[in-house]
């Protein structure tokens, strides 16, 4: 088995990374993922690692407004781009409406998928501000949640957009 080289400095790059509107000077190995740099160099741990393989969506961030699994995106590719993490959603004193409605609707349990879920929701609503339930379910299908059965998350997104035609439990009983 080839042994990884723990002290190989030859691949280190220096670059600037903009996260949530703040520019950070980064020096890191060229192969480092955006997730790893956000968590360990920038120091923002809201973005989670659930699989390191693009399968769970817990590490979702926005790069120039588009959602990417940051575990499988090179940090060095983000030079000159704008990265948004869950920490970039809320205002100074109040939660982002999506954060508030997710809480109010019971869409948060263990919370580990929540940052990625919020980022994916934000990305969905940016391109489709008035989604129906199917749009929401497909839009969030890259984000695994083991707690909620998605019911209250989907209902929260529809609630946030003012859509009340959800049949995911949000309608009054006949």
């Amino acid at each position: 088995m080839t042994q990884p080289s723990p002290t190989n400095l030859s691949n280190r790059l220096g670059y600037e990374l903009e996260v949530n509107g703040v520019r950070y000077p980064i020096t890191a190995d060229a192969g480092r993922s955006l997730l790893s740099v956000i968590r360990n160099e920038v120091g923002l741990t809201g973005t989670k690692e659930g699989c390191d393989d693009c399968e769970c969506g817990a590490c979702m961030v926005l790069v120039d407004g588009r959602p990417v699994n940051s575990c499988s995106f090179l940090a060095a590719q983000c030079q000159g781009r704008s990265v948004t993490t869950v920490e970039g959603l809320a205002g100074d004193d109040r939660l982002h409406p999506l954060q508030q409605v997710l809480l109010d609707a019971g869409g948060v349990q263990c919370g580990f998928c929540t940052p990625g879920m919020l980022i994916s929701t934000h990305a969905l609503l940016t391109v489709n501000p008035d989604p129906n339930e199917e749009d929401v379910r497909i839009g969030l299908s890259g984000n695994l949640c083991r707690c909620t059965g998605y019911t209250n998350i989907v209902a929260a997104v529809l609630q946030a957009t003012g859509t009340r035609e959800s049949n995911a439990g949000a309608e009054p009983e006949a």
Binding site: P6, G46, R146, C147
Partner: protein, 780 residues
Amino acid sequence: MFPPPDPVSYYQAMTAVDVPRFVRADGPDKVTGSGRYAADLQQPGMLHAKFLYAGRTHARITRLNTEPARTIPGVLAVLTAADVPDVRYSPGVADRRLFATDVVRYESEIVAAVAATSVEAAEAAVAAIEVDYEPLEPVTELEAALADGSPLVHPDLDSYDIDDGIVAHGNTAGFSSIELGDAPAAMATAATVVSSCYVADSCHAAPIEPRAIVAQWEGEKLTVWSSTQVPFDARAGICQTLQLPTNRVRVIVPHLGGGFGGKCGFHFEAHIAALARAARRPVKLVFSRREEFMVPDRRREGMIVDITTGLDDNGHIVARTGWIAIDNGAYIADCAFFPQLAAMHVAGPYQVPNLQVEAHLVYTNHQPSGSVRAPTAPQACWALESHTDELAATIGMDPVEFRRLNGIDNDTVGPSGQHYERTGLQECITAATELVGYGRDLPEDEAIGVAIGWWPSFSMPAGAYVKIDDDGAGQIITGAQECGTGAVMTLRQLAADELGMDPEDFQLVYQDTSAGPYDTGATGSQTLFNNGRAVVGAARQVAEQLKALAAGQLEAAPADIVLADGVGSVVGSPGASVSIAELAATAAGGELLLGHGSGSPTQAPEVGATCVGDQGMAAWVSPQVSCHAVHIRLDPDTGVVRVLKVGAAHDSGRIINPMGALGQVHGGVIMGVGQALTEITVYDHDGHQLNPMLLEYKLQTAADGPEIEVKFIESAPGDGPGGAKGLAEAPNVATAAAIANGLARLIGHPVRHLPMTAERVWTELTGGIDSTDATKRQEA
């Protein structure tokens, strides 16, 4: 950007029960990303840990050389069995050690552990360790493992420390039976006898957070931050294996990213603590997704169920016999009670006057099994309830009618001889079938399946303190552990109700073994049931103190003081009142407002049955019952099943926090959908896992998720606070069974192998050759 939410009207729409009064206290941390999980923690000088795993399912170590690892720059500790106390542990049967000594019994058994200054250096060190193995024959098939002459997973089992009551020998890690009446004799009198066999594959809890641990020594004191559901169990495991006194070890759980049983038990905290001691540095372990699947001794157990039921001329059950084999894996973890629990689920919530069920927990060279949400229940319920539909079909009775006729009811006796004074089962059947419109005409590719299930509430020790600070705000300091369910969050509501305060007036200090009193942890759906009673007890002490203070100020008797809306007032004289904040300020200058509580044990119910290998599972405190009715659609060309709607009716006693309760049912149901259709851990012939990643192990996504409608039946209160029972596991019991029964209607016969994957369904549809054990056994 978006209109403001309207939570109150939203919740009124969702449920007939009360509107919640608050959102969960840990919610803002979780939606902003500011909440810390174990993997988020950093300590100055912190090292990174990696384990060397056996990579073989059954082999003898003939040479182990760690010297090459020690020479790699940045490596500060390399540990093997030789470096820790020689202690064998595990609840029930002491069958394992922290590190392999001579024989490895599953592929992820830990042979060595390394701590280094970087993850890469730790990986390089693990790769440099030299181990030679002599292969041993793996044991992977349950019936072969029980046969005479099988190779033994633990040849020295008889010399291990085994708890009283556990029947273990050969490859049987535990045997239990439940016997009531005379089943063979009654079976001989039956008008109709039906026998079935079902086989369930193993699957995984798969929390989205892989586990992480940080250990740090300061002098002789150890602090461990761990993603565990059971911090007190973790502490006990550390103390037992590293031979430390309890009061020198503190286990803290940051926010926990889900568990579902997968993070119950004592796992790797001692390995990391031992590394940290050897390296004289804090050490951190973070599992990859692959490790999260393959390493912990927590996997939902595979199972074989043979079941025979005899009916009289009127369709009443007269006798039932069952035989169960459960895949324990290489070490017993917490499985000692599984055989008897599985037997209860094969007996089911039915009136069965004559019962004989035997269950074997079988050692194999698979990853150990352990409590995953409602252990044994989804598989055993799936087998029993599929069998129940076969019974009904055999005598030409509607399957729902059959369940009404034979299911337990108020003032009836169940299959283990326990008398049920009150149960909501019949109401659950009515409610769930109505939620999906059972009996209506459907397209020919759609059907509705119905299943009933049950689950205990567990009475366990639990403790909490309640205090009111000088400004009148409260704190609840509890040993309870929050794993996402919201159970700990709900403790605020209970304290507030006792003290006439608002839940928002309380902060929680929790999941810290040195702060709160003992609690069993986020396991067995026990938090609210037990710690809720502890908090109520603590809050009542504070209420008495407040009433005494108010009585002094208002010149009334303490018994005449009422605490409500943040004030203490005299009964009948609402004008005579003093605020709790004022009382708290007074108390702060003298005798402080402090209460402590520990839920008193509930009365143990009587068992009517005779039990061998009794593990206390044959009679249940505050039994929960449920009925799930599932509307499905089958694509006959592909065998793909789509779950359209699930109607879930639950008797879990009084519902205290409707938001939390709904979330538990939603989550349990979708986990059941996954177990029914897609979640399978695949092994090769030697017992290696073949699909330990999330692309190959298919969880349900938002796009797969069905509509879920819930109704709580609250007519049979339990022994928990305010009449509550447990809840979190019960919703995971009956969904797979209900899906199976819908599917059997569409196919014409049951699919006898769980999960009922598209491939297996398609095979049944096309009459193709099914290579599964279940089919072979059924035909034999």
